[in-house]
């Protein structure tokens, strides 16, 4: 019986050795594989970058779809206001260029800075985002992360901004800056703040742009 077991073991070792010879490099360790295969290494790096980019995009999306941003990125013919995103009062409408109409313009009330004594928010060039950059559907539902990402990276919809252009927009645009310093409402209380600071938002955008602005898949 003992001899039979030893014979079987010797046969197994021989098969294992044969398999090792035939398999060649593929039987090496994972780290050795990576070092020996640039393609696989770059694929791994690419996957890691995409994961990191998507994580940064999640942060950006949380800002873009906050009421401070989406109230002027509407799918409607009017702006919205408040954390409940209700229709803007005083019958204001979008107008041809998103700045209101001839005698009822956004700047009829919104000045170049917040008016905290009267509760009217303000920043230079107050206006609605174009409909091509709406972050909601016509039923007032917030668009998915994938939909917003596709729109913001589509240069036919985003004023022809490439990655550095988007980063500059997020860094310098007065209305973007306003969203992080939204002032006080008509009730005198500070408006709800965005989930990130402006520095965090810019940094997230920078990371996302650096890895090629990946977008989530799906609808």
């Amino acid at each position: 019986m003992k001899a039979l077991v030893l014979k079987a073991l010797r046969h197994t070792w021989r098969l294992a050795a044969l398999a090792l010879l035939l398999a060649g490099p593929s039987s090496r360790t994972a780290s050795a594989q990576a070092a020996a295969s640039p393609d696989r290494s770059s694929r791994t790096d690419s996957r890691t970058a995409r994961v990191e980019g998507l994580a940064a995009w999640d942060q950006i999306y949380s800002v873009l779809t906050h009421p401070r941003c989406i109230n002027c990125h509407t799918a409607t013919n009017y702006p919205q206001q408040g954390d409940d995103r209700h229709r803007h009062f005083a019958n204001v409408v979008r107008g041809a260029e998103g700045k209101g109409v001839a005698a009822l313009q956004c700047v009829s009330c919104h000045q170049e800075a917040n008016a905290d004594t009267t509760g009217v928010p303000g920043a230079r060039g107050w206006h609605l985002a174009p409909l091509s950059l709406r972050w909601q559907d016509r039923s007032n539902r917030i668009l998915s992360s994938a939909q917003v990402c596709r729109a913001i990276t589509d240069r036919s919809k985003n004023h022809d901004l490439d990655g550095p252009g988007l980063l500059k927009h997020h860094t310098e645009e007065p209305l973007v800056l306003w969203a992080f310093q939204p002032g006080r409402g008509i009730d005198g209380r500070p408006r709800t703040l965005l989930p990130l600071t402006h520095e965090q938002f810019v940094e997230a955008t920078r990371r996302w742009v650096e890895v090629g602005m990946p977008c989530p898949q799906g609808r």
Binding site: F89, V93, G95, V101, A103, L104, S108, Q111, T117, T118
Partner: protein
């Protein structure tokens, strides 16, 4: 308290007041120009409309600190403007006013509309005048007076 230099209806003026004071109250209380009315105080009714740098503006929500060097035109001065004169004449000839409280804001808004769009459509009138409320419901006469004035604007 701060001191501000203003140009109101073409005249330089100086006021010393709190920076957060709305332009409406500077006009009414400091400069004693009471033609501009307080309606809602939140920019919802349009009674307080003046022209600020040529733009129809709700003076009840604009702090004096944000006015800057932009000229202010009120109902007391709009008649010196050619379009303003035509609109005021149309208002009178068509007997638009009932109680009159909102009418200075209505006229300032109508003048801004006709300066931008001399021949406005009904939709233009509705959209531009849609933020000016009139509790006497003189809306039909307001629209008709604007149409009359638009025929006379050069």
């Amino acid at each position: 308290m701060e001191t501000y230099e203003l140009i109101v209806n073409g005249r330089p003026m100086e006021v010393t007041t709190d920076p957060g004071t709305p332009l409406l109250w500077v006009l009414r209380e400091e400069l004693k120009m009471t033609g501009t009315k307080y309606g809602c105080g939140i920019a919802a009714c349009g009674a307080c409309t003046v022209h600020l740098g040529g733009i129809p503006t709700r003076s009840c929500v604009v702090p004096i600190s944000l006015v800057g060097g932009r000229p202010v035109v009120t109902i007391e001065g709009i008649g010196r403007d050619p379009v303003g004169r035509v609109v005021q004449d149309a208002w009178v000839s068509h007997d638009v006013v009932q109680c009159g409280y909102c009418q200075s804001g209505q006229i300032l808004t109508a003048v801004a509309l006709l300066k931008a769009i001399p021949k406005p459509t009904d939709a233009d009138v509705e959209q531009s005048m849609g933020g000016n409320l009139c509790r006497c419901a003189t809306y039909v006469r307001i629209r008709e007076a604007i149409k009359i004035a638009s025929g006379q604007v050069k």
